[in-house]
Amino acid sequence: MSGPSTYKPNSGIEKWLDQRLPLPRLMHDTMRTFPTPKNLNFWYVFGGILTFCLAVQIITGIVLAMHYKPDSTLAFGSVEKIMREVNYGWLIRYIHSNGASMFFLAVYIHMFRGLYYGSYKAPRELIWIIGVLIYLLMTATAFFGYVLPWGQMSFWGATVITNFFSAIPLVGTHISTWLWGDFAVGDATLNRFFSLHYLLPFVIAAVVGLHIWALHVPGNNNPLGIDVKSPQDTVPFHPYYTVKDGFYLALFVLFFAVFIFYAPEFFGNPDNAIEANPLVTPKDIVPEWYLLPFYAILRSIPNKLLGVLALGAAILILAFIPWLDTSRVRSCRFRPTMKWLFWFFVATCAVLGYCGSQSPDAVKFGMPLVWVARLGTTYYFGFFLVLMPLVGLFETPKPLPASISQPVLAE
């Protein structure tokens, strides 16, 4: 909850600084004394983890940019030089490439947590919408970044995604040409994607600042979904959540390290170890795993323009969730019907991801996957457009506890 600051400078330097630029005060109020609900569980650590991921990507990215050459004839070779010749280049590259996957893993858990505990509900709608903006920026950054090594998948993934715009009637091909800077993905495209890939993470950092600022106005939501009633319901952010987040961050880094050192190509695609060739299309063009559900939604619709619109709608619909969900109860802990629909939604996203990873005409267990993807797409949009509005109106929620401090009523 934002309120008057309790900061008292306790040295000459701090006092001098506080009178001129209240940074120490800001740090104190947001990271030290900030009253945080004391019942935040494991699912709440991913915000801190995401900040860590952003910092790691920026630092490793800046270092990689010291050696990378964004020219279509030099890019692939420069990445190999980083892997083979730059001191610890292989390590920095693997941190960056696996870091992107970790970043998205964390953001999906973070988003699902927000959905489950109703963190998008009033008065936190703007935090959620800013979050959707961050997610969009992350997706764009990741897309630009994947093109940079200029492998087969980099090139053809760029071709497929930039061709989305050609679906737009009248101006579509002009937009595609404008994006490419040429008649197809090429050197001009690569150079500008490098510029944008370097720029966007700093835009993300600024928007994350807004995200946290917006959060600090009402303060954190919590697993019970009920408001903080008194100071007994909270603990200061430091040391309780700095230490707790620190512990889970260490576990996260451990998980991350297993991939960096023992399975660094796990999230990758062998075709990207082949230099881009505009004349040879790989057998199956697939994006990175974190874009697969959207890829499945796109491919499930047989019309080019409608498929692209469905893809866009699948992401943009997230921004409307605060108004689509009619329930007055925030947390799914007390929403018995929505709770199961939520988990089914999570499963649907996973199934859609699987469909996206397979060839468009794949058939598994006698079912053409394109029909599984269509079912998944129906549930995806149905969950937001039909279930969220209706379930809130007809569901009987469980009784809410009086406060966070009160012993939690047995579920």
Binding site: L91, K244, G246, A257, Y262
Partner: protein
């Protein structure tokens, strides 16, 4: 009466069996790569140095005629985690390769026969391309381009197993009714079954300097190991560092866990 289900079952399985054979023939999906042991697999795997040196010999004497190792430099040969040549040996290997020379004082790049002028390699050089350009490579190989091998283990599903399977997958009898396409060779481990490369290895294609018997299997295994190193020369360093990092992080997590537990004890 009692035989009917059996006959039905037999008939069905025969029909299905031949149907799938026909289908497999139409799709020509490659066989899954052979499972064979490589010393570098697993979290504690390392490259077998002797195998790397033998594999290098196979590359040099057999494969380098058509395949370049574009991203590998001669100085990589004496670095830790690799074949373990000395600097002098690496220099000697480099000098054995002909690198296109800079224009001479007259500004020429070819001699009077039209052959490209070359100079002996130095350790800073990369393995040279046996062909001056893609068109020349295709002309010499029935229109097919022999791929660069420096990333081949990373660029193929199955990695070193795939390379080994291709090299040992020749000389098999194609299924009935299958006609081998002209200028290609039947290899069921290759997608489409028609590989443009003629079988490159035979028994004793090379005479190993360490005296190991050069069977096709041995040569294929050694060159697959060498190519795995060529794709990832830093693998040993990566795994060694990983071990220290994981141990540190487990300990660090433990300490932080204790700190967290102690701190939160009075809240819960």
């Amino acid at each position: 009466m009692t035989h009917l289900p059996l006959r039905l079952a037999l008939g069905l399985s025969l029909a299905l069996g031949s149907a799938s054979a026909v289908m497999a023939q139409e799709t020509r999906d490659p066989l899954p790569p052979k499972s064979v042991d490589f010393s570098f697999e697993g979290p504690f795997g390392t490259y077998d140095r002797a195998s790397l040196q033998r594999g290098f010999q196979v590359y040099k004497e057999v494969c380098s005629a058509c395949h370049v190792l574009q991203h590998v430099a001669f100085h990589n040969l004496d670095e830790a985690g690799g074949p373990g040549f000395t600097e002098a040996q690496a220099k000697g290997i480099a000098a054995g390769f002909k690198i296109p020379a800079e224009p001479n004082d007259k500004g020429e790049t070819t001699d009077d026969k039209g052959e490209r002028l070359t100079r002996p390699g130095i350790i800073a050089d990369y393995f040279p391309n046996p062909f001056p350009n893609e068109n020349a490579a295709r002309t010499a190989n029935n229109g097919k381009l022999p791929p660069d091998l420096s990333m081949i283990v990373k660029a193929r599903q199955g990695g070193a197993h795939y390379v080994y399977s291709i090299l040992t997958g020749f000389h098999q009898t194609p299924p009935k009714g299958y006609a081998v396409v002209k200028d290609t060779y039947y290899n069921p481990y290759f997608d489409g079954w028609n590989i443009g490369m003629p079988p490159p290895l035979q028994a004793d294609s090379v005479t190993y300097s360490d005296g190991t018997k050069a069977t096709v299997d041995q040569e294929a295994h050694d060159v697959a190991t060498f190519l795995a190193w060529a794709s990832e020369p830093k693998m040993e360093e990566r795994k060694q560092m990983g071990f220290s990092v994981i141990i540190f992080l487990v300990a660090f997590s433990g300490v932080l866990f204790a700190a967290k537990k102690k701190l939160w004890a009075d809240v819960h």
